[in-house]
Amino acid sequence: MHVSEGVLAFPAIAAGWTGTTAIAVASLRAVEGKDLPKMAVLTAVFFVASLIHIPFGPTSVHLTLNGLVGVVIGIGAYPAILLGLALQAVLFQHGGLTVLGINGVLMGLPALAAYGIFRLGDGAAHRNKTALFGFLAGAAATALTGLLLALLLTTTGKAFLPVAKLALFAHLPLMVVEGLVTAAAVSFLARVKPEMLPGTHASREV
C-alpha cells in the first residue's frame, strides 16, 4: 500500500511532508524512555511484515501490521512507522524517499486510529473482548489505509469511488489477516505482559 515515486504531483508530496513532520513531532513528545525497547521491536516487526506479500486477484497485497504497531506502542507509533518506511525505501526501493511523508500519513494515521479503537475496549473484563477489539483495530487500520490511498490517488485524476472500491476489495483478505494477527498478539500480551499495552489499566498500574 505504499505510493511509489513519480506517481504524485509536488503539492501532494509537499502536503504529505508537512503533515508527517507535524504528526511525528507531536507523536515523539508522547514517547518516554521506557517505551524505546518496545518501539524498536515493533519497528522491526513493521519493517519485516511489509515485505511479506499475499497474491490476490489482479494485484498483490502485503502485510502492514500498522494496526498492531499502533495498539502496542500507542501515540508514539508514528515515528516508529516512519523509520520502518524510510528503511524500506532505502533498502528495498519500496515506496521512496520523496513520498516518505505521504506514505507516513497513509500508514501512520491508521495506526493512531487503531490505538483509539483499541482504547474503546479498555475495561473489557473478558479475554475474548480484548481479542475482539484487537481484531477491529487491526482490520480498521488496513481499511483506513486503503481509503486514504484512494483519496490520495484522486489527486492524480482518478475518481475516488472506483479506486476506493478496488483498494478495499484488494485489501479485504488482508483486513482479516491483519485483524487476526493483531487479535492474537494483544491476547497474548494481555495474558503474559499486559503492561506492554498502553492506555490499559495494567499499564497505568506499572
Binding site: 525497547p37 515485505l51 511479506i52 494485484t59 528495498f92 473489557a124 479506486v163 495474558r191 506499572v206
Partner: protein, 231 residues
C-alpha cells in the same frame, strides 16, 4: 481493562516465567517459519518489476510484483528520449503488453498499477538489436562469419569456385547458425533472469541490515534517554 491474566503478568507468581518464555519462543518460531516459507517461494517485497524485450519490430513488456505475480490492468506508457509520450495501453491478466516500436530511439517504458505502484525500464539501441549497436548482429551477419558458410554463399551466387558440402556438414552449419541466432535473441532474457535472481539474493542481507539499523537507532536513543536521567 481487566485482563484475566493481569495479575499473572504483573506479579508473576501464578504464571511461571517459563510459561511466558515458552509462549514467546513459540511466537518467534512461528514468525521465523513464516519468513522462511516466504523466502522459499521468493515472495519478498512488493515492488513492481517491469521487464521488456524486443523481437523484430515488436516490444513485449511484462509487469510482475516481486518478479512472480502479474501486475494486471496496469497502465503502460512509452516515452521517447525527450520525455514525449509515444503511446499508452494496459496490461492484460498476465501483466503483459506488447506494441510495435513507434520510433528508433531510446524508449522509457513506465508501468503504473491502479493502486499507485510504479515500475520503469528502458529499451536502448542494444536491446532493439540495431545494426549500429555492438551486440546488434543479425542472424545473417553472425552466420556469415563462418568460413564454411562463405563457401556455400559463393556456390549460391554462381561463382566459378564450386564448394561441395555433404548433408552432414550442411546440418552442422545450420545448427551452428540457429544456435548463434538464438543465443543473441535470448541474451536479453538471460540478463533479465539473472537480474531477478540477483534481486532476490540481495534481499536477505538487506533485511538483516535494516533490523540492524533499527536496533542501532533505538540503542542510541536509549543511551541518550539514560544520560538525561542521570543527575
Amino acid at each position: 481493562m481487566q485482563h484475566p491474566g493481569k495479575e499473572r503478568g504483573i506479579q508473576g507468581d501464578k504464571a511461571p516465567a517459563f510459561a511466558a518464555g515458552r509462549h514467546a519462543a513459540l511466537l518467534i518460531c512461528a514468525l521465523c517459519l513464516l519468513c522462511l516459507a516466504d523466502f522459499h517461494h521468493g515472495a519478498w517485497a512488493h515492488s513492481v518489476y517491469l521487464h521488456a524485450y524486443v523481437a523484430g519490430e515488436q516490444c513485449f513488456v511484462q509487469g510482475l510484483f516481486n518478479g512472480t505475480e502479474p501486475a494486471a490492468d496496469a497502465r503502460i506508457e512509452v516515452f521517447d528520449d525527450q520525455g514525449k509520450r509515444l503511446l499508452q495501453g494496459k496490461t492484460d491478466g498476465k501483466g503483459a503488453f506488447s506494441f510495435e516500436i513507434p520510433k528508433r530511439t531510446t524508449l522509457d517504458i513506465v508501468l503504473t498499477t491502479p493502486l499507485g505502484h510504479r515500475g520503469q525500464t528502458r529499451i536502448g539501441q542494444a536491446e532493439r538489436g540495431d545494426p549500429a549497436a555492438p551486440s546488434g548482429k543479425t542472424a545473417g551477419d553472425a552466420a556469415s562469419d563462418g568460413g564454411h558458410f562463405h563457401g556455400a554463399e559463393h556456390h549460391h551466387q554462381g561463382q566459378s569456385a564450386m564448394v561441395v558440402i555433404t548433408p552432414h556438414e550442411l546440418e552442422g552449419l545450420l545448427d551452428h547458425a540457429v544456435d548463434q541466432s538464438l543465443d543473441e535473441k535470448l541474451a536479453p532474457l538471460y540478463g533479465m533472469m539473472a537480474r531477478i535472481e540477483q534481486r532476490r539474493e540481495e534481499k536477505a542481507p538487506r533485511l538483516l541490515s535494516g533490523i540492524g539499523y533499527i536496533l542501532g537507532i533505538f540503542g542510541a536513543a536509549m543511551y541518550v534517554a539514560s544520560r538525561r536521567k542521570q543527575p
